[in-house]
């Protein structure tokens, strides 16, 4: 079901911002998070789609699971915790170069 519509935006107003995802333009709506924007554009896997790894998508939307990590203008962030801004460049994180540190 990769190409089916998975999420629908509630407002019928036209998307009014543009961001890029791995270099491709995407429509975005002010106020939504980067994760929501990707999902609304039917991007379910935020990582691993082109790699041999199984694809990885967001899960909790509240900053707890860390599977939504992406690069936002080159900085690794949780896509569910960041709001879209005009001309934001969002891309996959290189799994070898993850930089967020947590205690373990």
């Amino acid at each position: 079901m990769k190409n089916a519509l998975h999420f629908k935006r509630l407002s019928s107003d036209d998307p009014c911002l543009q961001i890029t995802w791995n270099g491709k333009p995407l429509d975005a709506v002010a106020g939504e998070t980067v994760a929501a924007c990707l999902l609304a554009n039917s991007v379910l896997a935020f990582q691993g789609e082109d790699l041999s790894d199984p694809p990885r998508g967001p899960f909790c939307m509240m900053g707890a699971c860390y599977t939504c990590r992406v690069l936002v203008n080159g900085v690794e962030q949780q896509a569910c915790m960041v709001e879209v801004k005009q001309d934001m460049h969002v891309s996959c994180v290189d799994p070898e170069k993850e930089i967020l540190h947590a205690g373990s």
Binding site: M1, A4, F7, K8, L10, R56, C60, G63, A64, H101
Partner: protein, 463 residues
């Protein structure tokens, strides 16, 4: 370093009420939350909604607006987008804001970091297209996007609430698969009389089920053997219902098995915890003012054991009264007068809790997967079978398993595998959960960049 009387971490109902109560009696209070606006989980973004979205989310949601406005109008210093990642028993809180780390010293701390959804591991649950039901609600509340033709699976009051909210948003779920069984109803029946004091909740529950029925949403009760179907993405869901195997085609699965206390800070602080069998989770030990095993640290709301939004708010007020008393802002009579009336309200709110806990207790297989191939630790992709082998061998518990298998070592720090791993050990080697214990957690409890750490060092050098 800046000093305050009280630092409250988490601006949900518990944190907002704790901060307001303390500030209204003259204490200097900061309220930190990583979200952009106050409200916590239940009232997420309530002050940024147009009338439309608020109406479809319901009155229990819009109720929170009063408190959010009160915080904005009060003396509480609300630091939004402030992610706390380290707390010390001495009262120092370290947090990141806009890429910079900062510190505050507080005479007292109220932890009000709420709950997390319980992990619900089943075959295929790490595929893109499986998200938690709460995540779907957050997308609706915060970003105004709704899942299309999703299957809701699991149990608990929130599962129905979210189903009703999706329905109101014009995108009813394709089906609801409920994991509670006939036995769950039998087990909880004796708790019903005591729960009647909280009758409002039952009226609301019945109303929700009626709405779903009227809308023609199919409910399958007593399902088991759940599995997401698909190669790389979800294409359907398989389950067992009344002795028969069934499969539904869908692109999204929303799983939910209730919520459990978020113990990241209480664990990292080394506070005492105990096993709460009714809620099937560890809870930090607190006295009846919400004080933890550490004198300066209080815990209010769902983070101290699941109680729901209204009870969380009352607990926040009760904590704040004791904080005010500790710091001599109020005397014993003033504290006790207000506390008594809050405790009466709290008793009414808590009346239905035991019934809800028993009725929606997750089945064993939803906590520890039956199938050895099912992933338990999402971050490091550790499978149930590997952990079972460790538990059956010489490995003594979750902390050793972490070193041996990497389960719990990933960036979520065990948030979504910890309880399953502890239960797996208890089940395999027959020791009680109190004995098995939980992962030891260390700061930072949130992922931070080296830049943020460095900014702290620079800040210190400047002081």
């Amino acid at each position: 370093m800046r000093e305050v009387d009280l630092a409250v971490l988490g601006a949900g109902p518990a944190g907002m009420r704790a901060a307001l109560t303390a500030a209204n009696s003259g204490a200097k209070v900061v309220l930190l939350d990583e979200q952009q606006v106050a409200g916590g989980q239940i009232y997420r973004e309530v002050n940024r909604q147009g009338v439309g979205r608020g109406a479809l989310l319901g009155r229990d949601y819009t109720h929170g607006l009063t408190w959010v406005k009160e915080v904005a109008a009060s003396n509480v210093e609300h630091l939004a987008e402030a992610t706390g990642w380290q707390i010390e028993n001495s009262g120092e809180i370290t947090f990141s804001r806009g890429g910079q780390a900062q510190q505050i010293a507080a005479k007292r701390i109220v932890l009000a970091t709420g709950a997390l959804e319980r992990a619900f591991p089943f075959p295929g649950w790490t595929m893109p297209g499986v998200i938690s039901a709460g995540a779907a609600q957050i997308l609706l509340k915060g970003s105004g996007i709704v899942p299309q033709k999703a299957v809701l699976v699991g149990s608990g009051p929130l599962l129905y609430l979210i189903a009703v909210q999706l329905l109101a948003a014009g995108s009813p779920p394709l089906a609801i698969l409920e994991t509670q069984s006939f036995e769950s109803y039998l087990r909880s029946a004796r708790l019903f009389p005591a729960a009647l004091k909280g009758w409002r909740y039952f009226v609301k529950g019945t109303q929700m089920l009626l709405n779903l029925k009227r809308a023609g949403v199919t409910r399958y009760t007593g399902v088991s053997e759940i599995a997401a179907v698909g190669e790389k993405y979800v294409e359907g869901i398989r389950f067992q219902f009344r002795g028969q195997k069934k499969q539904l085609a869908c692109g999204l699965i929303l799983g939910h098995q209730g919520v459990v206390p978020n113990v990241q800070f209480s664990r990292a602080l080394g506070l005492e915890h105990g096993w709460n069998d009714l809620q099937r989770s560890f809870t930090p030990r607190t006295d009846h003012w919400g004080r933890s095993s550490e004198e300066r640290v209080f815990i209010a709301g769902d983070g101290a054991g699941i109680v729901g939004a209204r009870a969380s708010a009352l607990q926040g007020e009760i904590c704040a009264l004791q904080v005010l008393h500790d710091l001599s802002f109020i005397n014993t009579a003033q504290r006790d007068n207000t506390a008594e009336s809050r405790r009466k309200e709290l008793a009414v709110e808590l009346a239905p809790r035991a019934l809800l806990d028993a009725l929606y207790r997750p089945p064993d297989w939803a906590v520890v997967p039956v199938c050895d191939d099912t992933i338990i630790c999402r971050c490091e992709r550790v499978k149930t079978g590997d952990l079972r082998n460790l538990a059956a061998g010489a490995c003594v518990g979750p902390n050793q398993a972490k070193a041996l298998s990497r389960a719990g070592m990933g960036s979520c720090q065990g948030r979504y595998c910890g309880l399953s791993v502890s239960e797996l050990f208890s089940k395999t080697n027959g020791r009680s959960l109190a004995e098995v214990g939980y992962y030891r957690l260390r700061s930072p409890v949130k992922g931070i960049t080296l830049g943020e750490l460095a900014s702290l060092a620079v800040g210190e050098a400047l002081e």
